[in-house]
Symmetry: C2
Subunit: 250 residues, 2 copies
């Protein structure tokens, strides 16, 4: 199996992984450096680290165009609303299936362009019914290996809980597992200090998602997780870009 | 300025960044995937995460040959001694200038090979007198952009304290700042969730190391830092690969 280090096309794609300690959330900054504007997107920004992230965008001379979520998070408040206030012109993005509000509601198979690079939307329900995975494009001008931002659908050697938020307890995320084995996996969280994995590694070592549906269900039901601390604050806020006050929505 | 995403030569260099939350330490796993043995090195492993790191080495089918430190850490106990116990044949590495014990004591300009790839040793005293930066090699078969593992000499938009451990309060690390601007900087710590920077960014935005020596000294003296919590445990242990019991040293 070919295990890859990190994003290629280093002269074109900028990729920065950022960590928020309290919720152990990873935020990702991507930009097309080959485009004169250096258009950029943020995936899964957190409200508490909006200043850090927008400062980094400025330092790197990027033009942020989208602030995107993989799903309606239950453990932290999204930074998309605050980012839109600080950087007018930025559009929020989430899946239509999430039933949340955003400037762009995306469907499976949609493409989200930033410069000449793009992210493909892949529906990967399970953790929530509206979970999507954003995958870099296929093609000679796109990063190689491909990169999948899996949210909580696929965590490194794990997956997000499936016991709340209208889920139907899906198991194997075939929309991720059919990607090339060297595809880099960047999740929304890690609690053990891992930063990246690959499809090949998760096909071998993921202790949950490699199981058949029956086994998966019984593993997930046996977890007996406590009620998520932040859910009653985070979910209503995240249904509206992290800003519960509807008048702030542009 | 060209800001790069991540390590190139993705088919050859494996690079994994790993985080230890308690001390906010980054450990790095590097391997040459083009060599049949997949020889690997760990930079700045932490005692508490040795199991995680050695499991990852096994999962990826790598052959760990060196467990290296950038310096004698004062905030955590190195994992090198434990790794040697778990994986006989692994050699510990530290700079001769550190006066610590290890299997290989390295000097400025030494090269540390793992397969066909290597790390150059660059003396970067300041945080401690024996601090070194490990830099990937220059050449067509080596990763591009280059990658510098700076320990605590250069932290992202910061630097390690210079008020203990025989330091003479050096400022600008010219051995790092003369590297190409797109050189990736991977530090031993980050406290704000940044994972990587570049020489170009630090030349522009590092608020300490960009200053002249006088200003640098007064900034560092004004920090009025408290006595490091772990220093009396960590330093004596780290002088001997994290194992104070000398009989355990191979
Ligand atoms: Fe979630
Ligand atoms: Fe240190």
């Amino acid at each position: 199996a070919a295990y890859s280090a990190a994003a290629a096309s280093p002269s074109r794609l900028l990729l920065r992984q950022l960590f928020e300690k309290e919720s152990s959330t990873y935020t990702y900054l991507l930009a097309d450096l080959a485009h004169p504007d250096k258009p950029a997107v943020l995936v899964d920004p957190v409200d508490k680290t909006v200043d850090r992230d927008t400062n980094l965008v400025k330092e790197l001379g990027l033009k942020l165009i989208y602030a995107m979520n993989t799903h309606v998070h239950a453990d932290h408040v999204t930074g998309t609303g605050l980012i839109k206030k600080k950087m007018p012109g930025v559009k929020s993005v989430i899946s239509k299936a999430s039933t949340a509000q955003a400037d762009h509601l995306v469907d499976h198979a949609d493409k989200i362009y930033f410069g000449g690079l793009f992210l493909e939307v892949r529906a990967t329900p399970g953790h929530t019914v509206g979970c999507v995975t954003y995958v870099t494009g296929d093609g000679p001008d796109q990063p190689h290996p491909r990169i999948a931002f899996t949210g909580d659908t696929l965590l490194i050697h794990g997956c997000g809980r499936t016991d709340f938020q209208f889920t139907e307890n899906y198991s194997r995320p075939s929309q991720i597992f059919t990607l090339p084995k060297d595809t880099l996996i960047y999740p929304a969280h890690d609690y053990k200090g891992f930063t990246v994995s690959t499809v090949g590694e998760e096909l071998l070592y993921n202790p949950r998602l490699t199981k058949d549906e029956e086994t998966f269900k019984s593993i997930m039901e046996d977890l007996k997780l406590t009620y998520p601390k932040m859910i009653d604050i985070a979910v209503p806020a995240n249904m509206a870009c992290g800003l519960q006050d509807a008048t702030t929505k542009s």
